[in-house]
């Protein structure tokens, strides 16, 4: 059997993995250096562009996900309804965490102008945001960040994929 290159072997490992894998785990599995692994992952991303899969990445962890363009097909296959179940306040909060995170509850509330405990608890329980650590501010409040689930919910492969914030014309 011909030897497979690193890119192909990484793809194989990512295929069987049931959770996002760090570069270290991938390097360990393939026996390659971290540097080579990263280069091969970049190559894999390019190769996948013409397939129904994408390389999802968050926080240096990778997982194979389906192409967002295949969403309708997969919904039909899974007999799922389109997800329009997020309320406007939920979307607003998610946008703040996605574009300004990681940030604390009080920072989120400062932008929204309303108390956001319930909203945050709701988004946490749906796995759309996660606690990523503690702020160094007094009281060490929890820092929130968006999750892999968030990215997949909106068909994004990584944070780089977030659409740029539309510029607002108003001048102070």
């Amino acid at each position: 059997m011909p030897e497979l290159d690193l890119t192909a072997r990484l793809q194989a490992v990512l295929f069987v993995a049931t959770e996002p894998l760090s570069t270290e785990r991938l390097a360990e599995a393939t026996g390659a250096s971290a540097k080579d692994t990263l280069a091969a992952l970049a190559q894999l991303e390019v190769q996948l562009a013409s397939t129904g899969l994408r390389l999802g990445e968050l926080d240096g962890k990778y997982r194979l996900i389906t192409a967002p363009e295949a969403a309708d097909t997969i919904r039909r296959f899974l007999r799922e309804e389109a997800n329009s179940d997020l309320s406007r306040p939920a979307l607003e909060t998610l946008a703040i965490v996605a574009y300004r995170g990681p940030l604390t509850k009080s920072a989120i509330e400062a932008v929204r102008g309303v108390a956001s405990d319930t909203m945050l608890r709701n988004l946490l329980s749906r796995g759309l945001i996660t606690e990523v650590g503690k702020s160094s501010e007094p009281g060490r409040p929890v820092l929130y960040s968006i999750s892999q689930t968030f990215l997949q919910h909106f068909g994004l492969t990584s944070l780089r994929d977030l659409p740029p914030i539309p510029e607002v014309a108003t001048e102070a």
Partner: protein, 229 residues
């Protein structure tokens, strides 16, 4: 609940303010602050009766607008403060408006989605080899289990107490005479509590290194013996 509907329409106080500003195609400036404040307070009144908590969120911004408006009535030095307050409010409003646009952008992506593989186990579950058991053994085990279910022998008002020390001492005595079957030890217990205490005492003895347990194979009798035997 008319209130929740109204709040749903505007995510919060800034939502109302933004709407007012966009509708009037004006900015929150010293000239327009009076008009905006009035409109804002008008909108809050429309929200109608609601919980104090919900209303307080809207009142805070109302108070802030009134404060900025009031600064205009004061002599000169206050105008600088008003400029600063207005600048700050505009900055917040801009940030809010920008993230609102981002939220709408996200909503537009609502139909897109990516899935990941959800298979939880790619390896076939390991099968436990079934021990060779005769039907008669099964029947015997069932009888033993039934026996344990029999009503308690002693029905009395005096509760039977066993201390860990007593039981521990009893097990040590047993051990002094050599190894024995765990089942025989448990069979001698008068009730469930004593069985539990016995079990705990045995675990303690194992931890101390005074006893050890062995089992020849799966489902075989568990043998208790002095440590090092």
């Amino acid at each position: 609940m008319t209130h929740t509907v109204a709040v749903g329409e505007f995510e919060g106080p800034l939502g109302i303010l933004l709407d007012l500003v966009e509708r009037g195609r004006l900015e929150v400036t010293a000239i327009s602050v009076a008009e905006i404040t009035e409109n804002y307070l008008g909108r809050i009144k429309q929200l109608g009766p609601s919980s104090p908590e919900a209303l307080s969120e809207f009142l805070q911004l109302g108070a802030r607008l009134l404060y900025i408006k009031s600064l205009a009535l004061l002599p000169q030095p206050a105008s600088e403060e008003q400029t600063e307050e207005l600048r700050q409010l505009n900055l917040e409003l801009e940030e809010y408006s920008r993230l609102q646009a981002a939220a709408r952008e996200l909503a537009r992506r609502g139909s897109l989605r990516s899935w990941h593989r959800t298979a939880t186990d790619t390896l076939p579950p390991q099968e436990l080899p079934l021990p060779k058991i005769e039907l008669s053994q099964l029947a015997e085990a069932f009888t033993r289990a039934l026996k344990r279910l029999e009503p308690e022998r002693s029905v009395g008002v005096i509760q039977h107490h066993v201390s860990l020390e007593t039981v521990s001492h009893r097990i040590r005595e047993h051990l002094g005479r050599g190894s024995f079957d765990l089942q025989s030890l448990l069979d001698n217990c008068h009730d469930r509590l004593e069985a539990i205490v016995t079990f705990l005492a045995l675990l303690e003895l194992i931890r101390e290194g005074a006893a050890q347990v062995t089992q020849a194979n799966q489902f075989a009798p568990i043998n208790v013996e002095p440590a090092g035997a």
